[in-house]
């Protein structure tokens, strides 16, 4: 008969659950956390994922002179995500001391399970903060080039000088409508082939990289401060069409707590519209192990996780920021 001690049981359980998450073998429907949304497949071997993309070929006029043998090369580019960040989380406990603080084996099991679970929670918290920092601090290289819409600004009115509550409400209403219009316009612009949302410089490089998106490739990442019910229901109304029915996949809306934006000095960032794989991260390796020191009777658990993260310039994205202005006086 195979017997395990409690540590072997918990470690095995944790590592198996990590394995299930890593290899996405769990087919059940569960709520995606913000961290899950940007996660792509684990890269078990190799240290980089390569993403090739090509420019669009040119349209020409018909010509009676044959150009069959002339070469029409198109330019390719390749991006890489993969600079493994290696982290670990360690904690140790001395079982006999813990037992003295517990009333029975049940309490002990619950507590040990809780602290092992805390390690996974710590990892999620770390990944969440790293991902949000990356997103919010995005500074595209070609944002200032003509025709680019990588950074967009919406003018919103402050409440300064409002003489009454109804005037305050009216300004808020106006602001909300402006945000809705901007989201709608950006969403529409994403659906046509364009380089306005790509961080590439076609003019200087002599290339023709463009992208257009399907609805189900889009993701909206919104600051909760600017996402009230009207804007969220906009996502539903965007798809009011005879062609699209309730089974049609909608763009994914990710609402991020206002506190995250405030903590990153980005109070006025309304959000991002992007291809769902524009930003991604993936594990290389994820493992929990334990060690029992017979000298001190201490058990040490270590959770290792190695991951890479990055953005793709070949995929479209746009950051939308609020520019607060005073309401024009009469």
């Amino acid at each position: 008969m195979i017997t395990l001690n409690q540590n072997e049981y918990f470690n095995g359980l944790v590592n198996f659950v990590l394995f299930m998450r890593l290899y996405a073998l769990n087919k059940s429907k569960k709520e995606k956390t913000i961290v899950d949304v940007f996660a792509t497949e684990t890269l078990e071997y190799g240290d980089q994922k390569a993403f090739p993309f090509a420019e669009m070929p040119k349209v020409e006029d018909y010509d009676l002179t044959s150009s069959l043998l002339s070469d029409k090369p198109i330019k390719y580019s390749e991006e890489f995500i993969g600079n493994p960040i290696k982290k670990k989380i360690a904690l140790s406990y001395i079982r006999p001391f813990l037992k003295m603080a517990m009333m029975d084996a049940n309490g002990m099991s619950i507590f040990v399970g809780h602290i092992l679970g805390l390690m996974e929670t710590t990892k999620e918290d770390y990944l969440y903060n790293e991902i949000m920092k990356d997103l919010i601090n995005w500074a595209p290289t070609n944002a200032s080039k003509t025709g680019k819409k990588l950074n967009q600004s919406i003018s919103l009115y402050t409440e300064t000088g409002a003489a009454s509550a109804s005037e305050v409400m009216a300004r808020r209403q106006l602001n909300q409508e402006n945000i809705e219009i901007a989201w709608q316009k950006t969403f529409d612009d994403f659906s046509i082939y364009s380089d306005a949302f790509l961080d590439v410089d076609n003019k200087t490089d002599g290339t023709n990289f463009k992208s257009g998106l399907n609805l189900d490739d889009l993701i909206f990442i919104g600051n909760a401060r600017f996402l009230n019910e009207q804007v969220v229901s906009l996502m539903a109304t965007l798809l009011k069409s005879d062609v699209i029915d309730k089974n049609f996949r909608k763009p994914y809306l990710l609402k991020v707590p206002q506190l995250t934006f405030d903590n990153n000095n980005a109070e006025n960032v309304i959000g991002f519209v992007a291809h769902k794989h524009w930003y991604q991260w993936f594990y290389h390796f994820n493992f929990m192990g334990s060690f029992f020191d017979i000298d001190t009777v201490r058990t040490k658990n270590v959770l290792h996780f190695w991951y890479s993260k990055g953005r793709l310039k070949g995929l479209p994205a746009s950051k939308v920021t609020a520019n607060f202005i005073d309401f024009p006086s009469n």
Binding site: L4, N5, G12, S28, S109
Partner: protein
């Protein structure tokens, strides 16, 4: 510290922590501990059949224990008894 002892011991299958967010079945109902352990055996078998190698976790003894657990459960032994017999408290 004053200690209490209880006559009946209940062993915890899966800890109720934030890490173990309930895994749900196709009808969106959380799986019970026993069902989860059964599902784990199926997942391990499926992975090993498809990939022709063992599940890549260091705790191979745990995988053997899961198979033993499910065998004992199918022989009619309660999960509480299985835990009492196969998990030592040290």
């Amino acid at each position: 510290m004053q200690k209490f002892s209880f006559n009946k011991r209940e062993d915890l299958l899966i800890p109720a922590t934030s890490f173990f967010r309930p895994i749900k079945d196709g009808n969106d109902k959380p799986l019970s501990g026993e069902t989860l352990l059964k599902a784990m055996e199926k997942i391990a078998d499926k992975y090993e059949t498809e990939n022709e190698r063992p599940v890549p976790i260091p705790d191979q003894k745990f995988l053997a224990w899961i198979r033993q657990y499910n065998k004992m459960a199918s022989d009619g032994i309660s999960s509480e008894k299985i835990f009492q017999r196969t998990i030592s408290k040290i």
